[in-house]
């Protein structure tokens, strides 16, 4: 993962079509176009797993059904704890058979329609619920050597708690870290970098102009009419965090994609 930083390779988030879509064919075509574009650029395609609890199709089934090319070094599958054990194993086995090795393990956002892994499902003892830590342990145990797993870091949570969680995640087998979106220099992320100099850290850059959508994540109200320049912020983040990779969330493929090529200098 350090190579992605050295070689200035972006992680580009791609949201799969939602289950409720009424224009599935169009959405599938758009997904395939975005995916292929990321592959051709040599970037990482990071495919989310029911992000924000919205029921969506899985990255692995999209790759299979749409017969998309798989370049193992360019794909990262998000995986959260809202699955049945059977679905979880299906996803992991598909990843393994396709050579996909990078996973981002998160606890995830649930919804009424999503099943939640129970500790007994994955042999987790002494815990009341399954978090990314238990999921990581399961993958390390049952799929030893098959995957390179990363985890999320939230600098907006209480710091001691977040660092304690990070210790558990790294002990469970995480080997890289991706932060929540940053829109300015963040002292907690600075301390994360100081504490784990040998762990590749990728910071998330918020590429939507709707910065107010981050209010809940950052923990303070961002007014709806706040002006925000994602490309300028991205350049600033490169300057502030030259030793970090960058994960682009909600990137505009029509308006922004061509602009990012020359941003990481």
């Amino acid at each position: 993962m350090f190579d992605t930083i050295k070689n200035k390779i972006y992680h580009v988030e791609i949201l799969p079509p939602k289950q409720e879509t009424e224009k599935l064919e169009t959405d599938l075509e758009n997904f395939a176009n975005k995916y292929n574009r990321v592959m051709e650029s040599g970037y990482y395609a990071c495919i989310t797993d029911n992000a924000m609890g919205h029921l969506s199709f899985q990255g692995t089934e999209l790759i299979e059904e749409l017969e998309l090319p798989v370049y193992p070094e360019q794909i990262m599958i998000h995986l959260n704890t809202f699955h049945t054990r059977e679905d979880l194993d299906n996803i992991l086995n598909t990843c393994r058979s396709k050579g996909i090795k990078y996973l981002l393990i998160v606890s995830g956002d649930g919804s009424e329609r999503l099943p939640k892994l129970q500790p007994a499902d994955i042999g987790a003892e002494g815990v009341e619920s399954v978090t990314s830590v238990e999921l990581l342990k399961y993958i390390q145990r049952e799929y030893a050597g098959a995957f390179v797993s990363g985890v999320a870091f939230n600098p907006y949570e209480p710091e001691d708690h977040e660092f304690a969680k990070m210790e558990r995640k790294l002990a469970a087998g995480a080997s890289f870290i991706i932060t929540q979106p940053l829109i300015e220099k963040n002292p907690v992320v600075d301390r994360l970098l100081d504490r784990y100099p040998d762990v590749p850290v990728t910071i998330e850059a918020w590429m939507s102009k709707k910065i107010y959508l981050l209010s809940e994540a950052v923990g303070y109200e961002i007014p709806e009419n706040t002006a925000y320049d994602p490309i300028a912020t991205l350049k600033m983040l490169h300057r502030l965090y030259p030793k970090c990779g960058v994960y682009l969330s909600l990137l505009g493929f029509k308006t922004q994609y061509d602009l990012i090529r020359d941003t990481w200098v």
């Binding site: 409720e20 029921l55 199709f57 899985q58 049945t84």
Partner: protein, 262 residues
């Protein structure tokens, strides 16, 4: 085993509007979804099929756009689906609806088990499942929270009530209505969704199922809706409390007491 799962398209919870004249839910132009309780009925049907073999048939009555929930049923494992749709069915109450569904079930033939969700979230009556059983003179169990055993001859279920649950054995064919405790519904796969878009869904009219005209629609409905009103919108405003954990806890308790919640 031939299993019929009766499902219903309902307005999305936040979109429900009521016609002030007719007192009925306005369905035109509203976002519609599969009745949440029916997802558990479908899952149970598909699960039983995987155990015993056979076929799962999704059945609904509604306007042409109700076909969408039948396709959703196929995407999660139903083998085929049938839509009852005709102006003659319009305005049916639960008795007329259950009559129409029972006639369709008779026409499907050799059905071993009918599964319904415990109720639809638009009408909240929980009457259609029992109505089907009554029209077909079948044994029934409502509020089923678990199936303990099932064979080609009988089904043993746990039926929830206020003080616990009863264990009931029913001879098949039978009707059950299920609670959400019974299973965890699967999420449709892309493969299933794509397959569901390609399949043909037959549309049956009253004459196709041998329904008597005076037993369906408004004429066949002994109940009349006198008054309905939408529930008050929920206040979802969130408040962020700042301070140390102790200060936050104290402020939270104080606020809850002021609101007479504590």
């Amino acid at each position: 085993m031939k299993i019929v799962v009766c499902i219903k398209q309902v307005p999305a919870a936040n979109d429900a509007k009521i016609d002030p004249e007719t007192k009925r839910i306005i369905r035109e132009g509203q976002k519609a979804v599969l009745n949440p309780f029916d997802t558990y009925a479908l899952e149970e049907g598909v699960r039983l099929k995987s155990l015993l073999g056979g076929e799962v048939i999704a059945l609904t009555m509604g306007p042409p756009k109700a076909e969408a929930v039948l396709r959703e049923a196929i995407s999660v494992g139903a083998d085929r689906a049938i839509l009852l749709s005709d102006r003659g069915f319009g305005g049916s109450d639960t008795w007329a609806t259950s009559y129409a569904l029972s006639k369709a079930i008779e026409k499907i033939g050799d059905v071993n088990l009918v599964i319904c969700g415990k109720q639809a979230v638009d009408g909240d009556t929980a009457q259609v499942g029992p109505g089907i059983a009554a029209h077909l003179s079948l044994q029934q169990a409502t509020y089923v929270m678990a199936i303990q055993d099932v064979t080609t001859e009988s089904i043993t279920v746990q039926r929830m009530h206020e003080e616990g649950y009863d264990i009931c054995e029913l001879h098949l064919p039978a009707v059950i209505t299920v609670l959400k405790d019974i299973n965890v519904p699967r999420v449709p796969t892309l493969k299933g969704r794509l397959a569901s878009q390609k399949c043909d869904i037959p549309v049956w009219k009253p004459a196709d199922i041998g329904a008597e005209p005076d037993k369906i629609g408004l004429d066949g409905s002994p109940t009349r809706v006198v008054r309905t009103q939408p529930p008050p919108a929920r206040n979802t405003k969130s408040i962020r409390i700042e301070g140390t954990p102790q200060e936050c806890a104290q402020a939270l308790v104080k606020d809850l007491r002021l609101r007479s919640i504590l």
